[in-house]
Amino acid sequence: MATSALEYGHATAAKRSVLVEWLTTVDHKKIGIMYGASAFIFFLIGGLEALVIRTQLMRPDNHLVTPDFYNQLFTMHGTTMIFLAVMPISAMFFNFFVPLLIGARDVAFPRLNAMSLWIFILGGLFLNFSFLLGAAPNGGWFGYAPLSSRMYAPGHNMDFWVIGLQILGVASLAAGVNFFTTILNMRARGMTLMRMPIFVWAVLVTQVLVLLSFPVITVALIYLMLDRTFGTSFFNLTANGDPMLWQHLFWVFGHPEVYILILPAFGIVSEILPVFARKPLFGYSAMVFSMAFIAFLGFGVWSHHMFATGMGPLADSFFSLATMLIAIPTGVKIFNWIGTLWGGSLQFKTPLYFALGFIAMFIMGGLSGVIHAVAPADLQQTDSYFVVAHFHYVLFGGSIFSLTAGAYYWWPKMFGKLLDEGLGKAHFWVMLAGFNLTFFPMHFVGLLGMPRRIYSYPAGLGFDTLNLLSTVGAFLLGSSFLIFSYNIIKTWRSGAQAPADPWNGATLEWSIPSPPQEWNFAVEPIVTEKDPLWGLKRAAGVKVLPEPPRVSGEGIHLPAPSWWPLIVSVGFLTFLVGIMVKHASAFPFGPISIAGFAITLYGIYKWAYEPVDGHAPTT
């Protein structure tokens, strides 16, 4: 059976090498795996940067790295973790699992999906390439003007940041259009919106946030690029420009962005808890509406990042209140997770460990977040390590814990092998201990007055021991991912072959073989209720359904592989890089830009006229 599927896979792509196959693939599963693999590498790079930062702060008056390199490290650590790790690891789950969860054979626009991937990878490489030139971005992950202006950041450092983020934004926007359309329009028959798995809802709401917030940062980055490259003064105070405009535009994007980072995590945990508590999600519709409410409010709270800028009592009060309001839907979600666990027969497998860790850590991060909502209190905490503690509790304790839970949960479906349970639990305990040891003391150093992003600190301020603890914790935290990597390698070499449904799952992806065949569903499923697979098992009176067979896939039409997504991505990157390196000449666009633009245009043209359904089996 398996061989016939393999033969089919290679039938039309007769002599394609493996490399060409992956470079031209439009299969959402392969794209998902590439997202995951590249994002995990970027995640390790970002983690390495964090370890250097922690080593520098290990003891007072330390000079492990130069101050300028330190600036590059914390800027790239933030940028990498947000744009090159958490977002694309989420994108891996979107890509691999949204079509499977809604019973589709692929996303709505497979080639556009490939383009998102390539633009993301090229953008990530471009950003990290700056290290090789010794000119990594050094103005902080939110690039505040005028620190990011040419006057105060004369090198190419911030150009890399501006162009890199612009590139990554286009990838996110393209993926946003694609997944929004896919979820609305590619659902299996009978899967109404309120029957969708909760993770799919989380993805849908996330895409709304991406689509409506990324255009704002796109424009802000264009202004910054114009300021730096074409001599305008949008954020230049000496020419009547207003640096506050950058802050506002950045956070109009930046606050929805934090929900872009956390909502997929909410969705993953909401999928895992019911499966391992053996009961349906508590308050499904309340979960859906609270996510929508969080997303909507998320657009009305951006200035709580700017209480210290002196916006005046009206604005402060408004944004304070709106921020406190967000605690309500978030609280609803937390109580629903607890309600899901309550009275369930808990199966203590690794994914559940990480999901429970997520709930506990996210509550702590959420509580310190509510403290920030109070504008007078925030004035004391802003730009201190207290804030650093807060956002690591929500982004690491929240997003990363949940994404790791998702990795353990869905690994067998993605690769057909179960990750080792013992190593998984070791990973969890080391990560939990390391995480809290790293970030809990930061609350205290923050309240003691240690500023965020400080290069070094003198002895005797009460920071010494707490910083040492944080550094020890950081290395513990780093080592937990060594355990994870070892687990992956061990599983790769000799893991237990996973059945189609190892966890007794509730959703459609567990009804097909692990790993799925290229066309996902041999016959397109029809859904009549939420948790369709549980309904099926109930109806059949069994706990585990018989293993689904692998089929030949004859007669199934799949989208043809294409070079154009990759070519367009390369052209687009060339165009923007050309703008960055031109600034000696008077003409706005140098030859590199023009070449890139031409490649992009030609690629789009050929793409538009490329036949779509070329991958039908010849038999």
Partner: protein
């Protein structure tokens, strides 16, 4: 794929309706320009009474006129009126959000001056 849609549009609209809307759009644009000329432009001198009574409402009137034009194009030329409701929600939601952001940003940047869209209420 587009069959059901083509039917839907074809049944409701015809060239005649498109022409009627085009005429209305032109009339509205002409009104916008005339409003400007009456309040601040060439016509101001010849009809001072009209100018003084209209000019306090200049911004509001312009916004209403252009919103009406916007609505006509979106509803009829973009077929939103006859199309799926979800498309109306999609466009409507993003428009509302865009408007709120424009107003909020402007308020934040003119905090000690005016709420411009209300025509200058002292704050």
């Amino acid at each position: 794929m587009s069959d059901h849609h083509a039917e839907g549009v074809g049944a409701h609209t015809a060239s005649a309706e498109y022409i009627r809307i085009a005429v209305v759009l032109f009339a509205l644009t002409a009104m916008e320009v005339l409003l400007y000329e009456a309040c601040f432009g060439h016509l101001k001198a010849s009809m001072p009474g009209l100018s003084t009574s209209l000019s306090p409402w200049f911004v509001q009137l312009l916004l209403v006129l252009s919103a009406f034009k916007f609505w006509l194009v979106a509803m009829f030329y973009m077929h939103l009126k006859f199309d799926l409701k979800v498309l109306q929600w999609l466009f409507g939601f993003s428009l509302v959000l865009a408007t709120i952001v424009i107003m909020a940003l402007f308020t934040l940047f003119t905090y000690n001056r005016t709420l411009w869209w209300w025509g200058g209420v002292p704050w």
